[in-house]
Symmetry: C2
Subunit: 131 residues, 2 copies
DNA sequence: CTAAAACTGTAGGGTTACCCTACAATTTTC
DNA sequence: GAAAATTGTAGGGTAACCCTACAGTTTTAG
């Protein structure tokens, strides 16, 4: 399929997809169109894009996502290795969730309209103090 | 305190802090130093920076964080209003956590080395299909 | 069958949230 | 009184795109 169809399917932009390709996250076969060359993507691209989307929801950089893809979609790697790697990624998600739980706790603290003393003590607790 | 102390306390960079100030997330009083002018921050800056840090952990843009700060640290606003606003932010965190739970679920799916058919069905389920 | 519409490509500028020099003016320290 | 540390400004670079704009190509409509 050409890039336009990928745009329709994924909702991503033409620019974004070409940027992914520049970074090596997806690949295409060049097809001739007169003096021009179009990009033809095969259907495995969709799996790659699905994993890229997961990486973005984890707020990974595209370079890091590229590294993940190389390990997650790779014939050179054993199934066990691949499985272990993806489980490790899932654990990272747990870490991120734990971090957000802490963020929530702190927001609730600030919501309780604490007075200056209490706020200062809290700031000290999270490492923000001076003198 | 001058910017150097803020750097020590927060671990943020001089450039980063000045960028925050350019965006109006923190403020300073100018103090004269010969022909130069230094920035003097008061201690309320630390509370602002604590909230900024929470916003960053929620992956908010700095402009959005600025909007949050205007509502969270604002004498013009009633305590109830402020409280309600921060509780709404906490709910947003819940939404983000739910999203990450879904990410985890999908990672575990891919970890189970599914064959092409199953993967295709999954892609379809999450909205990635063509033809 | 041709003219317009739709689709591709490249190129260049803009944005966000910084980092990283480099250099000048100012303290502070020895 | 000189060196070291601290501030300031200025300019360039990065990441992950978006947004024109323009030029070939292919498809569609009349």
């Amino acid at each position: 399929m050409l890039i336009g169809e990928l745009v329709k399917i994924t909702g991503l932009s033409k620019d974004g997809l070409r940027y992914y390709e520049d970074l090596g996250l997806i690949h295409s076969k060049p097809v001739k169109a007169g003096t021009r060359i179009y990009r033809d993507y095969d259907d495995t691209t969709l799996e790659r894009l699905a994993l890229i989307a997961l990486g973005k929801r984890m707020h990974f950089s595209l370079r890091d996502i590229g590294a993940v893809l190389n390990r997650a979609i790779n014939d050179q790697i054993s199934r066990e290795e691949r499985r272990a790697f993806l489980l490790a990624q899932a654990q990272q998600v747990d870490t991120q969730i734990a971090d957000l739980e802490d963020v929530k706790k702190q927001l609730l603290f600030f919501a309780d309209q604490p007075d200056k003393e209490v706020v200062d003590a809290h700031l000290k607790e999270i490492g923000l103090y001076y003198e």
